[in-house]
């Protein structure tokens, strides 16, 4: 995010007028005049055009440290006032096309970037949408608008937790969303209605209301939708995935066994590591499929490490948007809230087939003469530690080998893991070799993780996140623990200030005393 534009605000009230004449949306603007033009741009057609331009921009906007692009700033300024916010949201609903792979992600980006609306604005918006069951069933709204409304409601639910989220989830909103949980609708609408309900359910009161509505149905609609988790259609497959996840994590039904208890894990010896993943990523019960529905950039590594030899795995692309899939050592950190993932440091390398970029050190290298990836495509990831090459392939077509990563990882002697990062609403499925590969490398002998890895029965369990959180919350903490990490025993004294209460691991990371800020000249171990 940039830092400049919010500091030079002058009084906007006199310039801001919904009746101002139309201004032409210009493609090339400097940040300086963005505000002024944005003020004039409340003409709906111009906001529509800004939204379309933003879609193009997001596909090419790759630098995390770059200042907020002018277009986003303009939308932000327009959305700063209630009327403008309503217009931006309406424009997104009206114009974001179904076939743009970044459409729903773009809506989350705009919501994340704009100031949060007041509760009144949001309630006005839901009135503007005229949400109801009839409206969901009517043909007055096209598929695109219905889907976009669901995406918007999900974003609002994610941003407004607590009482405001309860206020938005009126009977009418609920009727509208629940009406879509039916296979007679287009799968993209069902998917985003389900995701919106999931996000509303993060507030407990909403969760109880939604659950009671499910209970009133003859058959809980989620139980029907969950059966689609292995559907051949990639959008229905996503619906199935999300329904199953919701049943395991949010809307738990008595007598329904959790998915991890019933899934057959016998042939699977390596999975996505549910202890080595950023907070919001959803992992399937067999540990091989992952999905992100959060606006953060979520990452995961697999359970198996390779140190030498030549290895290969494949990924089935379920959604065509931004994912960065490849290899990472344990040194690679998952900075999901900053937007950094696999390929964004010295210790990882990835391919993003939506924008056709190979990522390393957070720098993209453009890939020519390959199409953008599509649902069903197979990404091949080969790492040859003998020849020090990493080679990506799409449906068997190999890209140029990458070698630089082996230079920056050589000194730390850490092995590689299969790893991936996901933008909002992206999903893919991993094959580490428990199934035959679609495009196995033919130019060299290679190994598959699944033939060499072993997991205990306990390690194969992908526990629902809430169990895991409950387990850690109930953990007890010893009395003499380090006051910084509470993990190790406090056994160090800092000199010369003589403050105590720290373990050696924490003390080693300190330059000044956390209590008095005196420089640390020596750390003395007690005993």
């Amino acid at each position: 995010m940039g830092s400049c534009w919010c500091k030079d605000k002058t009084d906007e009230r006199e310039m801001y007028s919904p009746t101002a004449g139309p201004a032409s949306a210009s493609m090339s603007l400097s940040p300086g005049d963005a505000r002024l033009r944005a003020m004039k741009a409340l003409d709906p057609s111009i906001v529509d055009q800004l939204v379309m331009e933003m879609l193009t921009l997001i596909a090419s906007f790759v630098d995390n440290d770059e200042e907020s692009p002018v277009l986003l700033v303009k939308l932000h300024v327009i959305a700063d006032k209630e009327e403008g916010w309503l217009q931006v949201v309406s424009s997104m609903v009206n114009v974001i096309p179904l076939d743009n792979p970044l459409g729903p992600s773009a809506i989350t980006i705009v919501f994340d970037d704009c100031p949060l609306p007041s509760r009144d604005s949001v309630i006005k918006l839901t009135k503007l949408f005229r949400l109801s069951r009839q409206r969901a069933l009517s043909n007055a709204l096209d598929v695109k608008m219905k889907r976009n409304m669901c995406v918007v409601l999900g974003c609002i639910a994610e941003k407004l937790a607590g009482p405001n989220s309860v206020a938005v989830l009126t009977e009418e909103t609920l009727d509208f969303l629940l009406a879509f949980l039916d296979t007679n609708f287009e799968p993209c609408i069902v998917l985003f209605a389900l995701i919106a309900l999931e996000k509303f359910a993060h507030t407990t009161e909403n969760k109880l209301v939604i659950r009671s509505r499910f209970d009133k149905e003859d058959v809980n609609p989620l139980l029907k939708l969950e059966k689609l988790a292995n559907n051949e259609d990639y959008v229905w497959r996503q619906v199935g995935f999300c329904a199953q996840w919701a049943l395991d994590n949010l809307f738990v039904i008595e007598n329904r066994p959790l998915s991890y208890e019933t899934v057959d894990m016998t042939p699977i010896n390596v999975i996505l590591n549910s202890h080595d993943v950023s907070e919001y990523l959803k992992i399937s019960c067999n540990g091989l499929e992952a999905r992100c529905d959060s606006y953060s950039f979520e990452s995961v590594r697999c359970t198996f490490q390779v140190d030498n030899g030549c290895w290969y795995y494949e990924v089935t692309i379920v959604t065509p948007g931004v994912m960065q899939i490849g290899w990472a050592t344990k040194n690679s950190h998952f900075l999901n809230h900053e937007g950094y993932g696999i390929g964004d440091d010295l210790y990882s390398l990835s391919y993003d087939g939506c924008r056709k970029l190979i990522w390393y050190k957070a720098k993209p290298a453009s890939v020519q003469d390959l199409p953008e990836w599509q649902p069903g495509d197979i990404l091949g990831c080969l790492i040859d530690l003998n020849t020090r090459e990493a080679i990506f392939s799409l449906n068997g077509r190999c890209l140029t080998p990458c070698t630089e990563i082996f230079e920056t990882t050589r000194c730390c002697k850490q092995g590689f893991f299969a790893a991936a990062s996901f933008m909002a609403f992206q999903q893919c499925r991993f094959n580490f070799g428990h199934l035959p590969f679609s495009f196995p490398p033919t130019d060299r002998p290679f190994m598959a993780f699944n033939d060499y890895a072993r997991l205990t029965d306990e390690e194969k369990k992908v526990l629902p996140r809430r169990y895991y959180l409950e387990k850690v919350r109930n953990a007890s903490i010893p009395e003499n623990a380090c006051t910084l990490c509470y993990d190790a025993v406090a056994d160090c004294t800092l000199e010369p200030c003589f403050h105590k209460g720290f373990c050696s691991k924490c003390a080693a990371q300190l330059r000044e005393c956390p209590l008095c800020r005196a420089p640390i000249l020596n750390v003395k171990r007690d005993i």
Partner: protein, 151 residues
């Protein structure tokens, strides 16, 4: 997720057991590093009567680096910009791992009582605060009424 550090568990337990008056910090049901925060506007400040929503996130290397905090409710304050970002030394170079979620939130509450227009993040607000404090305070009260009192 790497196992949740005990430090975070400890702080969460204590926030639940001994909440700070005027401040509520509740961890997200799905992410133990993300807290929904509500700070009540301090008495005798232009923010009195308002309920300000913030988000607080504990980064991977917490407590060696500071929590990330921002206002979600709009607020008219010289040290808080339009995106809700807060200019507060302990969130930046004056962070110490001995500080905690509760101390950070108390400092933010104190910042509401004592705006510091000489170290601004929102320049226009700071400017007005310096040249015409009574008008700035009127604006702050108006924003509080408009954005922080609807619930």
């Amino acid at each position: 997720m790497a196992a949740l550090p005990r430090r975070i568990i400890k702080e969460t337990q204590r926030l639940m057991q001994e909440p700070v008056p005027g401040i509520s910090a509740v961890p997200s049901e799905t992410n133990a590093r993300y807290f929904h925060v509500i700070v009540t506007g301090p008495e005798d400040s232009p923010f009195e009567g308002g309920l300000f929503k913030l988000e607080l996130f504990l980064p991977e290397d917490y407590p060696m680096s500071a929590p990330k905090v921002r206002f979600i409710t709009k607020i008219y304050h010289p040290n808080i910009d339009r995106l809700g970002r807060i200019c507060l030394d302990i969130l930046k170079d004056k962070w110490s791992p001995a500080l905690q979620i509760r101390t950070v939130l108390l400092s933010i509450q104190a910042l509401l009582s004592a705006p510091n227009p000489d170290d601004p993040l929102a320049n226009d607000v700071a400017e007005l605060w310096k040249v015409n404090e009574s008008e700035a305070i009127r604006n702050a009260k108006e924003w509080t009424r408009r954005y922080a009192m609807d619930n």
